[in-house]
């Protein structure tokens, strides 16, 4: 058994991290991010268990997407550190696949579905590597898994919202990563796409991968996920769904924005 590591923080509070957390797919410590002078996230600590399906849940503007982006270095961190499988995230980027929000790109870009999924192979292709037949086959398999193989030659601007989301998922699959970070994968997609995506994510989990989703639909949280992180600028709670998905925690996360009648309608496993 390795000794526990003690990290001193600038607030004088000592954070003990058990040795087992050391190998967590994603361990975030004292993460603070701000846009201008206003913190978007304040001192968030969380450890995502391996082979879990984790939902990050919170109201609009709570910093859910920012949490993923800061973990990946897309937005700068004001303080804190992020470790992936026990190493600094900057050294582990080949183990991570990120699925950004669909609306974050211009879909009139000159590219076919195939070209976008191929982007998942860019890190392994390098600058001058040519695309091998086996790599093209891998890309087609990834499209097959999200049910988009027949659209491979289609221009991306012609896709529906749900199809665009599936193409982004296929690109992440092409990376063959161990940790999948998805930003609102179910936002504005049709029911068939939602089913297809959740099936792919579940198969990832069964194959030993870890999945983290920013999620906005409280009604499906308990059905889709087994681990939960509630944030609203600060971390409200984290842990297994069965312990954390309670009406008290939801009240604390959403404040008055979530009517208690709404909470009553949710299937809360813990209550």
């Amino acid at each position: 058994m390795q000794p526990a590591i003690t990290l001193a923080t600038e607030y004088g509070k000592a954070v003990e991290i058990a040795a087992s957390d050391d190998q967590s797919p994603l361990a975030i410590r004292e993460l603070t991010v701000s846009y201008g002078e206003k913190p978007a996230l304040f001192s968030v600590d969380t450890v995502i268990p391996a082979q879990s399906m984790t939902a990050i849940v919170g109201p609009n503007g709570a910093g859910k997407s920012t949490l993923l982006k800061a973990a990946l270095g897309i937005v700068p961190r004001l303080s804190g550190n992020v470790q992936v499988f026990g190493e600094p995230v900057e050294e582990m980027q080949d183990k991570i696949a990120y699925v950004p929000q669909r609306a974050s790109v211009d879909w009139d870009f000159p590219a076919r579905v195939l070209d976008v999924v191929m982007m998942g192979l860019y890190p392994q292709l390098g600058l001058l590597g040519f695309i091998k037949p086996s790599q093209k086959k891998h890309v087609m398999e990834c499209l097959e898994r999200v049910g988009m193989a027949e659209f491979a030659e289609r221009q991306i601007g012609q896709l529906s919202g749900g199809q665009q989301q599936r193409v982004f998922l296929a690109r992440a699959l092409a990376q063959n990563a161990d940790l999948y970070l998805l930003d609102e994968p179910f936002a504005g997609v049709d029911a068939a796409t939602e089913k297809a995506i959740i099936a792919v994510l579940q198969s990832l989990k069964e194959n030993g991968r870890t999945v983290v989703c920013v999620h906005h639909d409280l009604a499906t949280v308990a059905d889709y996920f087994d681990h939960l992180l509630l944030v609203n600028i600060r971390k409200i709670a984290d842990g297994p769904i069965s312990e954390v998905f309670t009406s008290e925690n939801l009240q604390a996360t959403y404040g008055g924005r979530l009517a208690s009648t709404h909470i009553d309608q949710l299937k809360l496993p813990a209550s």
Partner: protein
């Protein structure tokens, strides 16, 4: 005139014209390919700031070289000076965007005008210097190819080849940064550095192009070929290649035309040729061109009218829309007095059956790819197999009953 153009086209118009033609062609290829990534990154305007920011560098380099007793017109020295000052301009745009609340377009406007103004003032100063009268630095504004030397052509050729090789090497990171910079960052790519490399390329092309097209028009060589190429392809790598071809062709043809007659300025003619290629593409490109879009829209409109008309016949409704009437008459579905012909009646009942089948199909395949294909026009046979249609037909009598119940 035509003879002149033809002989210039086949590089038979004398030594200087040949140098200019080859140089302009290479410059066009380099500018077209590197400008494409600027265009795809939606930062086309920044090339204008880069270009205008070269002027004070040219002037200062001239002054320094004269001050140390050298030849103020040494091209390599002037280009070095222009590169340094455009780099400063570029950094200024970056700095303003990052540390103030101004957006990039405002920063570009500010840097462009201030640097250009400073450059013009310095040119006036040079005019008043004893050795300044013959400096000919105004040539850098709109390009001047009259006295182009062999080593000038070599400078452009080497720069152009390096730029094309750099584009080839950086094509993947630059494509990814243009399409999805956040995702690029998540894979460990340094997008900031990729952008710097793109800017560096644009700066290099601008600097080597100063002699031929000048700093005011170089933007056209960077951007117009990319915009032109976009009409012809839906794949980034093809857009890049096509932009190189369009740029090279504009450079070659433009300088050939300008060599055919005295006093035709090379740079502006190249830009006009480039614009001509753009216009042809704008109107005649197969998918994205204006005529193709109009044609597609018209064909679609007629299809809609035909379908609506046939359904109206099937339901025994009167048709008032003149376009619907003429469409049906032309197809032989309607007589001149507005009564349906036999073939019209047959087609109408077929259309009605198709519509009913679709209604059932959309009920069965809810939330499925099939329902997404329903546009009111596609015949169901094009989407479903015969077995599936047979299955649907079993539902139709029921559907009819429901209609009747209402």
């Amino acid at each position: 005139m035509l003879d002149g153009i033809l002989s210039a086209f086949f590089l038979q118009s004398g030594y200087n014209a040949t140098l200019v033609t080859i140089g302009a062609c290479l410059l066009g290829i380099a500018a077209g390919t590197s400008g494409t990534f600027l265009f795809l990154r939606k930062r086309a305007l920044i090339s204008d700031a880069v270009a205008h920011a070269t002027l004070p560098g040219v002037a200062i380099a001239f002054i320094i070289m004269v001050f140390f007793g050298g030849d103020g017109r040494n091209l390599v020295g002037l280009l070095l000076g222009s590169a340094i000052s455009s780099l400063i301009g570029l950094l200024a745009v970056g700095w303003i965007t990052k540390y103030t609340r101004l957006a990039e377009d405002a920063a570009i406007g500010a840097v462009l005008s201030v640097f250009f103004g400073a450059g013009i003032v310095l040119l006036t100063v040079i005019q008043s210097m004893s050795s300044g009268r013959q400096a000919g630095l105004e040539g850098f504004l709109l390009g001047s190819t009259a006295g182009m030397l062999f080593q000038d052509a070599v400078t452009i050729a080497i720069g152009g080849v390096i730029a094309v090789l750099a584009v080839f090497t950086l094509r993947r990171p630059m494509t990814l940064a243009a399409f999805d910079p956040e995702y690029a960052t998540s894979t460990g790519q340094n997008v900031y550095r990729t952008d710097l490399a793109t800017m560096g390329l644009v700066m290099a092309v601008t600097v080597i192009g100063l002699k031929i097209v000048g700093l005011i028009l170089i933007v056209a060589m960077l951007i117009i070929p990319a915009v032109t190429a976009r009409f012809w392809s839906e794949r980034a790598e093809h857009v890049v290649i096509l932009a190189g071809l369009f740029g090279g062709a504009a450079g070659y043809i433009g300088s050939a035309i300008s060599a055919s007659a005295p006093d035709l300025p090379t740079g502006p003619i190249i830009v006009l040729v480039s614009f001509a290629l753009f216009c042809v593409s704008l109107f005649f490109a197969p998918e994205r061109g204006i005529f193709s879009a109009l044609l597609r829209h018209r064909r679609f409109q007629l299809l809609v009218h035909r379908r609506q008309g046939l359904l109206a016949i099937a339901h025994g409704e009167r048709i008032y829309d003149p376009l619907t009437l003429s469409t049906l008459r032309k197809a032989g579905f309607l007589r001149a007095d507005g009564v349906a012909t036999d073939s019209g009646a047959a087609q109408a009942s077929k259309t009605l059956r198709d519509e009913r089948r679709w209604k059932v199909a959309r009920g069965i395949y809810q939330d499925d790819a099939v329902s997404n294909l329903y546009d009111g026009l596609t015949p169901i046979e094009a989407v479903l197999t015969r077995d599936q249609i047979a299955e649907i037909d079993r539902h139709i009598p029921v559907a009819k009953q429901v209609d009747g119940d209402r």
